[in-house]
Symmetry: C2
């Protein structure tokens, strides 16, 4: 039975989000640009292609180790544009502020956003500020939207994975999700657990320079790697096989996940990307990623197969294999 | 003394909003595209110009006579792009939903948004849905961002008003503001008080067809006509003189304003535009607006003068004159 009210699960980025999109939003707004459901839209502007994306940020807490809602909001949209093959250029910044928000917090958040924009090489060119009465929003929500040109010859998309391709991951899993989780639970650890929130657009350019035929780019944010790979497998009509042994997870993050019962495969990343590329170019892509400051732990984690189309299967550490489904419920609301 | 917390006034669209923008946001993000503070940004994309704009909608109630937050969100961004001289084409839709929002309400809102997009001739090409726990947002907030090309030869902007120009208004004032106010207060009237929320982009094209040298376009939303004219006077370094006698206000709206103590000059409009044009083309602009279904009450309301630069002065009905300042406080939070 379909729920008659919005549930937290509808925002998980996982299966129930996917259903809301497929059953309500697409039937109403569907068009040939929206339908592919990539991280952003690819639109025509005077004969050249632009990548256009939007995201609202509602993360709680608004300040967390190695980031805050301000830089997160810039990184997120920069990365979505980059995952479409676009060179992010212009961003908008829409602020929704709760009456009573300390001005100093707002200033810190905006300064972080500016630094993030500078690092990514994008400009905030338009904006909007709304203030709502106490209790109508929790502290601050930010929307960023933006666009940038897609260079000629670049064609990436989640329908383009082909059997034989390799799946390259740019670094450790679940850092952002585990960080927000520990903050939310009031846990503190000696261990170094901090958000991976980062701009990936420069790394994407290095990947394009190293590989002439990148098939798919995706940043596994809400819903994590597991959900992102499922979407790609479904949209490309292929199977994906990954090796648990090869998945990079920081020991501290792995420990937290075990302690709290979360699976790092489904926790959000905010500075990691998946590239699906022809096998013979995979090592070059890994090498290109490793040269970037945000790609030092890049590695090949699996491959695209003709078997089990639409499914992701993981070879486990103990020698078995298990199906990696999309995230079914909500692991953690307000992760981004 | 500067406030150390965000106040409702900071979102009014009036003087205190303006201060927040000038004293905090511009010093952090300032750049040559953002600085002009038009309704949207004008950016370069492969040699052609695009108008790019964003707005978040937090209106309360979410359903009101003649509209809801869904069509309002489409109209608002369509109009901001049109006020930059752009032809709105692609929109994004970012939803922030409260856990427990009735699915039927969401569907009604999205269907209205789709109808509004169709009427305006724009496509929703990308989106994002976040769900936050009960109490973290009030029902539903929507961000729309979007862009479209600016045809060659079109140059409008709030610095371009010149002494001698006429100020043309496309219709009655304060309809949206008065409607939200009566809903909020739980007042019901026999009289026909309903939102003017409407797309203005087709009317803008008619204005361009009728007038070869449009100087300024602006939709007087938050902060109303009074605030919009002050911004133009300040940015163009000119005075503006308007006649109270000529300002079109529906009798029912005027009555509500008197009853509740609001000034229609500062109440929000969501389907009205100001055009500042050379005197000899003003009548043609009025005629062009009147042919549009949303411009039947268009008229000339005043002129641009060399006297009192930066100030707006109104000749009152009783023969005096008064300075029309920017909105100082918050008339009504969550008007849009």
């Amino acid at each position: 039975m379909k729920p008659d009210k919005i549930l937290l699960d509808h925002g998980s980025g996982g299966k129930i989000s996917h259903n809301l999109t497929m059953e309500l939003i697409l039937p109403i707004f569907g068009n040939n640009i929206l339908d592919p459901l990539n991280d952003g839209a690819i639109v025509d502007a005077g004969g050249s292609r632009l990548a256009f994306s939007t995201d609202s940020y509602t993360v709680d807490p608004i300040f967390f180790p190695d980031g805050n809602i301000g830089d997160l909001a810039i990184h997120g949209t920069v990365n979505d544009i980059a995952m479409c093959g676009g060179v992010p250029r212009y961003l908008s910044l829409g602020l929704i502020l709760e009456e009573g928000l300390p001005m100093a917090d707002l200033e810190t958040i905006l300064r972080s956003a500016r630094r993030a924009a500078d690092e990514a090489g994008v400009m905030v060119v338009t904006g909007d500020t709304k203030v709502v009465p106490r209790g109508a929003v929790d502290k601050i929500f930010i929307n960023t939207s933006g666009f940038g040109p897609i260079p000629d010859g670049i064609v990436v998309g989640s329908t383009r994975a082909r059997a034989g391709d390799r799946v390259v991951l740019s670094g450790t899993l679940a850092d952002h999700g585990a960080t927000i989780m520990t903050q939310r639970e009031g846990l503190t650890f000696d261990a170094d657990v901090c958000s991976d929130s980062a701009p990936l657009n420069h790394m994407v350019q290095s990947v394009f320079a190293a590989c002439s035929d990148v098939h798919v780019l995706r940043d596994p944010t809400r819903g994590g790697l597991g959900t992102a790979l499922n979407e790609i497998a479904g949209q490309s009509g292929v199977g994906i096989r990954i090796d648990e042994d090869r998945l990079p997870v920081r020991p501290a993050v792995a420990g937290i996940c075990e302690l709290l019962g979360f699976d790092p495969l489904y926790l959000a990343n905010e500075g990691k990307m998946i590239a699906i590329v022809p096998a013979h170019e995979a090592e070059a892509v890994v090498a290109a990623m490793r040269k970037d400051r945000y790609g030092k732990d890049a590695c090949i984690i699996g491959e695209v197969v003709a078997d089990h189309p639409g499914r992701v299967v993981m070879a486990t550490r103990i020698g078995g294999s298990r199906i990696v489904d999309m995230l079914a419920g909500e692991q953690l609301p307000r992760i981004c």
